[in-house]
């Protein structure tokens, strides 16, 4: 189980009449800092920094060139301003682009070589890396600041021909695969943050499931930002060959800091004929304090390419953290009869802002997509769903169903829905439904009249609202996600 530790600290009993207002004053439990010696590059971004990062990682020439091209392209771009989020401009020269825990050797060969302080950090977060301590059936790659510190169950997976390792290792061990697929779904110049990531990405996870193999366990990556002033720019690449399938989960946390920290990741998924990739995220980056100070800027590009016929890519996300979330996990439905799903729960509390949604690009014949978005706003949070469904001229028989539901808690929060539908084939069938509701005093009082506490009642009502999405998560993670929502909402009722 890799979602953050979610034990809620003891709470004073809710006062009567404080039902919908006191629910939001919850401390961020993953907000501690680990003191480690780090190997960092100086602040700021330049060609030299890109070269330094590439050199530190001992990368081949082609990858350095790829980074430099991305960097040069990035210089010509400006940050996007169309999202419904507000924040002061980011000073890209004030960020450290590479930070790694200092290790005596080249890198840990096994868990025994990993700094015990690091292992304790992950244990504290509920991600014990020792394999014997892990839930059976989940392999983990743990990323700390800029580098991957450990990947578990590598050997067992290797027996099936599955590659699951850090991105750096993949560059060394499987350069042909990386070179073949890297940037083919999210090209380096795709958008401002994707270009930035392509220039400076330091690590991430790599998954390759060979033809016909069903991955026997859940794979997961756990991201942790620790060092001050550090951005995290990881890159994940997942390839499922013909008939292969895999379920992958990522979880994220960061220490509590007064400054905002940038997280600009890129995730690329590639599914060949009859392949299935299920990608689940439980995102709990530090959201900032209740006055909006600090927190992670989560500007992420995630895209899946249903390249083969009958392939299936499914995104499920539970987003409770970050000061600002800007992400649109998308699916390009290129193969005939391919299927794309997006299931999302996004919660904003206090001064959090989320602008999230998806793009479903129908290109193949008889492609199908489903979008199910549940936005929850509490405190002074702002929650925006932004979606695009595009049916291209040759996408005969495309179908899409979109449902966007918003739940408001209290009266100072906001929910927005911006669906865009572009249909260029008359045989397409596109449906959109949207609802907005408020947690009713009626519902709360009904539950409380049955002896249920206000906090349990809110948590129950919110979980009920999200149930359709939670049932898409692997079971252990669904339980974590429910708890996380409860914790993230504490104090919102009052």
């Amino acid at each position: 189980m890799n979602a953050p530790t979610l034990t809620s600290p003891p709470q004073a009993p809710a006062k009567r009449g404080d039902a919908i207002g006191a629910f939001l004053e919850q401390e961020y439990v993953a907000g501690f800092e680990t003191r480690l010696e780090t190997d960092s590059v100086p602040k700021g971004l330049s060609e030299d920094i890109v070269r330094t990062i590439s050199a530190r990682k001992g990368e081949p020439e082609w990858l350095l060139e790829w980074r430099l091209e991305a960097y040069r392209h990035w210089l010509t771009m400006t940050p996007p301003v169309w999202a419904a989020v507000q924040f002061p401009p980011v000073d890209f020269q004030d960020i450290v682009y590479y930070s790694a825990p200092k290790s005596k050797k080249d890198g840990p060969k096994s868990l025994d070589e990993v700094d015990p302080e690091l292992l304790r950090t992950f244990e504290k977060l509920g991600v014990p890396l020792h394999e014997r301590a892990r839930l059976a059936g989940v392999a983990v790659d743990a990323v700390f600041d800029s580098v991957s510190v450990a990947t578990t169950f590598k050997k067992e997976l290797g027996e099936h021909g599955i590659v699951f390792c850090s991105f750096s290792e993949a560059v060394k061990e499987h350069p042909e695969l990386v070179r073949q697929y890297l940037g083919t779904v999210v090209p380096p110049g795709d958008n401002f943050y994707a270009a930035l990531n392509s220039a400076v990405f330091s690590d991430g996870s790599f998954v390759f499931i060979p033809k016909g193999v069903k991955c026997p366990m859940e794979l997961s990556t756990y991201f942790r930002i620790n060092a001050r002033d550090t951005g995290q720019f990881e890159r994940t690449l997942i390839i499922a060959e013909e008939g292969a399938s895999v379920s992958y989960l990522e979880g994220c946390t960061a220490p509590m800091r007064d400054e905002n920290q940038l997280h600009a990741a890129v995730v690329e998924l590639i599914a060949l004929d009859d392949a299935k990739i299920k990608y689940s995220t439980v995102q709990n980056w530090y959201p900032g304090d209740k006055d909006g100070k600090g927190g992670i800027y989560n500007f992420v590009t995630k895209r899946g390419d249903c390249r083969g016929a009958r392939s299936h890519i499914s995104w499920t996300q539970v987003e409770t953290g970050s000061a600002i979330t800007w992400k649109y996990p998308s699916v390009i439905l290129r193969g005939d009869d391919s299927v794309g799903d997006f299931h999302s729960v996004a919660l904003t509390n206090n001064l959090q802002q989320a602008d999230t949604g998806t793009k479903m690009i129908h290109m193949g014949r008889n492609t199908r997509s489903t979008i199910l978005s549940k936005g929850i706003s509490a405190g002074r949070g702002s929650n925006t769903f932004r979606g695009l469904v595009r049916v291209t001229p040759r996408a005969e028989g495309a179908r899409n169903y979109t449902q966007c539901d918003s739940l408001l808690i209290g009266d100072r929060c906001a929910a927005h829905t911006f669906p865009t539908i572009e249909v260029r084939n008359p045989s397409a069938h596109v449906e959109h439904e949207a609802t907005t509701s408020r947690i009713g005093e009626d519902q709360l009082f009904y539950a409380m009249q049955r002896g249920i506490s206000a906090e349990d009642a809110v948590s129950m009502i919110v979980n009920g609202f999200c149930r359709e999405v939670f049932k898409e998560l692997p079971m252990e993670f669904a339980v974590e996600a429910q708890k996380l929502l409860g914790v993230s909402l504490e104090g919102s009722v009052g």
Binding site: R16, G440, D442, Q449, R450, G451, I452
Partner: protein, 259 residues
């Protein structure tokens, strides 16, 4: 024993209960009747602890406890049950989950062991059978898409599971056809016991043909203006509420009369 003394309550600054007195002994069933707007539902909500109503004066003593000092959920755990006139829908939350959370919250408070899933299912299935509810209602969202009769049965089911000391039934008969009414009334009668008091709020005499009260009170303009036995309900049916209202206005002193 429940003793309501000189209870005044308001909503949005508008006085609704204006000096209500009522005593309900252990094991007694009292009916409260009255025209629309007389304060019947307000009384139910105030007793249950709804904070949209402000108690401006008076007291409620419940077996020695100051009822008004307890938050809603503690009143419930201590054994006060309100059968809602309009049971609330909670989408996505299964009835089974909701009922189990409620029953265990109450059991915890009473120092009883919490039910595990198996014990709970056995218990709830037996109670459902008694109120004529199909098992599928366990797995549907709380009250969502239930018909009027199904919602009221669900209220009676909850009452049976929570075993209250004081049950307030707020117009449980409203919107029910005669068959549904009989089933609900049977469910309520089954729960009558010497330890359980009930306040049955209704607009119509007809419910009292099936749930026979020990006493009947008539509420008008926020006060109990008349109390009597079963025959008072029949009298009311014959003469209509106009009769009471006219009388209530004529003899204001009757308003504070104790039952």
């Amino acid at each position: 024993m429940l003793k309501i003394n000189n209870l005044h309550a308001a909503v949005d600054g508008k006085a609704i209960l204006k000096g209500l007195n009522l005593e309900v002994g252990s094991g007694e069933v009292h009916a409260i009747m009255g025209p629309n707007g007389s304060g019947k539902s307000t009384l139910a909500q105030v007793l249950a602890g709804r904070d949209t109503f402000t108690v401006t004066d008076g007291s409620v003593d419940w077996d020695g406890t100051d009822l008004l000092a307890l938050p809603a959920e503690e009143r419930a755990r201590a054994g006060l049950f309100l059968a809602f006139q309009y049971p609330v829908e909670i989408p996505g939350v299964s009835n089974a989950y909701f009922l189990k959370a409620a029953v265990n919250a109450v059991r915890r408070h009473r120092g009883l062991p919490e039910y595990d899933a198996m014990d709970f299912l056995a218990r709830v299935k037996a109670e459902m059978k008694a109120v004529g509810m199909k098992e599928e209602f366990l797995y549907r969202s709380v009250n969502e898409g239930f018909s009027g009769g199904e919602k009221k049965r669900n209220e009676v089911l909850q009452m049976a599971l929570l075993e209250p000391r004081l049950a307030v039934l707020d117009e449980t008969d409203s919107g029910l056809d005669i068959d549904a009414l009989k089933i609900v009334a049977e469910g309520v009668n089954r729960l009558r016991s010497p330890e359980r008091s009930m306040i049955v709020i209704t607009h119509y005499q007809r419910l009292l043909d099936y749930i026979v009260p020990d006493k009947v009170h008539v509420l008008s303009q926020g006060r109990i203006v008349r109390s009597g036995g079963r025959e008072l309900a029949l009298e009311l049916e014959e003469h209509g509420y106009g009769w009471i209202d006219a009388e209530g206005k004529a003899t204001k002193t009757a308003a504070g009369a104790r039952p």
